[in-house]
């Protein structure tokens, strides 16, 4: 039983899989986790608004990157698309099927088509199963015929591991190799859609590139569609065709990868981009850095109006704290959830500048623009 949302909205329209080039289409998705309290923990005292009204589309054969800070709901969104957490409201269309309403056997069968690569490769592989068992378990589970001699070798070859790996166990591999096994398991079902949740953040820097390149090769070979969830903007930019930026349960900006990185329009995206350190002293010394003060507010008690207004350096007197901005298409394919995006873009509104001492003493959201 899924939790009932305190809010309701109209039922979303049904996309037509024949004409739509989107493989995955998410409409008005909400995932609210009830907070239980009271003497027998049976009373619901509130909700954690982990995902609160998300619309997304992923075109066939492309990669959508989803970035955001920890606690913004990006992993919950990914898990909700695969129905690994209960969906409160909204619909998720994967290859013409509304996954959000499926149950039992139908859902289990639909899962063949969508697979996941997890963050921690050691925790997501059973330590007592050999690699061969790990790779063939999903095939057996779904009753798919396979050639015992060749299938495992084929899979291992695809992810760049020797055939001898089949008889080994997860602990015998390094982190990067384990992640390759996780990827091999995901593609064993020949899915159309793969979600990779932080696929490289647990790996050493020199290994990350190997895994990213592998994901890209597999996409070219197998025509996969990816949703890559990560907190590292550089990684997301590298692998994605389109990027969606998430803040506190909602998408604040969604655009083509190059467009987003060249011209971020939402204040949060701007701050996020300026915060990423670049391994180049010349760039580091010249660029302008927008510092946000404070932390992500609690998703159990999100701010009214724009979720970002408590930390936003561009906040205005009106609208920001009362009205939640819609995701508006300001340019072709570039959607932004900000009331003042045009004015900020035109330079009519500038970021407030505060000294470090003020920032330390006050609860108010402030920004410190500094050039070194």
């Amino acid at each position: 039983m899924t939790a009932q949302s305190p809010e309701t909205s109209e039922s979303p329209e049904t996309p037509d899989p024949k004409t739509d080039d989107a493989l995955v289409s998410v409409r008005g998705l909400k995932v609210h986790f009830p907070i239980r309290g009271g003497a027998f923990l049976s009373r619901t005292t509130g909700y954690v608004y982990a995902v609160d009204g998300v619309d997304l589309e992923i075109k066939r054969g492309t990669t959508l990157g989803l970035v955001g800070e920890s606690g913004c709901g990006k992993s919950t969104l990914g898990r909700a698309i695969l129905r690994l957490v209960p969906v409160t409201e909204g619909s998720v269309w994967v290859d013409g099927v509304d996954v959000a309403t499926l149950k039992g056997e139908d859902l289990r069968r639909e899962r063949q088509n969508m697979q996941m690569v997890f963050q921690d490769p050691l925790a997501s592989l059973n330590p007592r199963q050999s690699i061969e068992t790990i790779l063939t378990e999903p095939l057996r589970e779904h009753g798919i015929e396979y050639n015992r001699e060749t299938r495992v070798r084929e899979l291992l070859e695809k992810v760049g591991l020797p055939a001898s790996a089949a008889r080994k166990y997860p602990h015998e591999f390094s982190g990067g190799q384990r992640q390759r096994i996780g990827i091999a398991r995901a593609i064993a079902m020949e899915p159309a859609f793969v979600i990779a949740d932080e696929p490289v953040s647990a790996l050493d820097v020199s290994i990350q590139a190997q895994v990213l390149n592998l994901l890209e090769e597999l996409q070219d070979d197998l025509g996969l569609t990816y949703l890559v969830i990560a907190h590292d903007l550089a990684v997301v930019r590298h692998v994605s065709d389109e990027v969606a930026v998430m803040y506190l349960g909602g998408i604040v900006e969604h655009a083509d990868s190059d467009e987003l990185y060249n011209e971020p329009m939402h204040p949060y995206t701007k701050a996020l981009m300026s915060a990423v350190p670049v391994p180049d002293p010349v760039v580091e010394e010249t660029r302008e850095r927008i510092l946000l003060t404070g932390d992500l507010p609690s998703p159990a008690n999100p701010p009214n109006g724009c979720r970002f207004h408590t930390r936003c350096p561009f906040r205005q007197e009106t609208r920001c704290d009362t009205e939640r901005p819609e995701l508006r298409e300001l340019r072709a394919g570039h959607r932004v959830a900000c009331h003042w995006a045009e004015e900020i873009e035109a330079g009519k509104i500038t970021a407030r500048e505060v000294t470090a001492a003020d920032a330390a003493l006050s609860f108010e959201p402030q920004v410190q623009v500094q050039e070194s």
Binding site: E69, V205, S206, L212, A271, A275, A359, A360
Partner: protein, 357 residues
Amino acid sequence: MTVTADFVDSSTPATETTRRGALNDDGTLLSVRDLAVTFGVRGQKEVRAVDEVSFDIRPGEHIGLVGESGSGKSVTSLAIMGLLPKRGVRTSGEVRYNDENILGWPPRKMSGIRGRDIAMVFQDPMTSLNPVVPIGIQITEVLRRHFELSKKDASARAGDLLVRVGIPDPKRRLGEYPHQLSGGMRQRMLIAIALACEPRLLIADEPTTALDVTIQAQILELLKELVADTGAALLMITHDLGVVAGLCDKVNVMYSGRIVESATRRVLFGNPRHPYTGGLLESVPRLDSPRGAPLKPIPGSPTNVLPWTRGCAFAPRCGNAVERCATDPPELRPDGDRELRCHNPLSADQRTEAVTP
């Protein structure tokens, strides 16, 4: 073989901060010479985690120690602080401070320096704060230990410190427990504790790895500011080349327990000569590089090493490896504007390839 800081930017203040204690004879604040740390487990082969590590830290200077997990960077910092376990560990070499070798000092003697002259910020703020002790006590503890302040004075000072690290409403916060704070706040607390006694050297071991990017930017900015205010020197230990690029005067790159390249940051990032440094820079996706430019990964994994006693540890993964690399261990030698441990460094055209994004 030693690394001397004779190519340090002349802009760094080399004369100041004699306000407390003396410097070493050669004008350095802390000087590490041929540090080696060996871990032994009975019945198993010994592991040499750190070997031949030498570097200098001058007053006010920011030094970076970069490497992947297992490269020995954290063990180096623990050895300097005297925090390695007593059993099963052998250390050799020198850590000179105040013209004395503090390596292997007894704990009682070491605790006079630790926290007061040399302080440390750890990676994980949740595990390095005591979860059952209010934050106020954890900050005043270090103040009272070193300055013999009264409880009242100490907590007044702790309040000031919290304001300085950007924590609003210090009175309330001092009575709170670590779990009541967010990750960024906890890291600020740790920095407050580390800077409470205005140390001469702050060792920051991956201080931002557990944090989000926007919080990371806040913390790095704060560290930079506070270190500049107090005139402390900074030893920054990280795996993130981006963090080092914006912060450190000089960078030491470690691989498998030894320093393989050491230079000022502009030289190092503009012109990496060790194949490992170059490989690292090329394999990291950059925010400002054009999309679709393929990453050139370093093949193999960091566990795939040759023992330094036999040859170059990086040789099995190195694209530039020559026959000598597997048989003859390279030495750390001065090479123009840097120190380098390599038989066949990247050539000029390989380097231009590496720097053009």
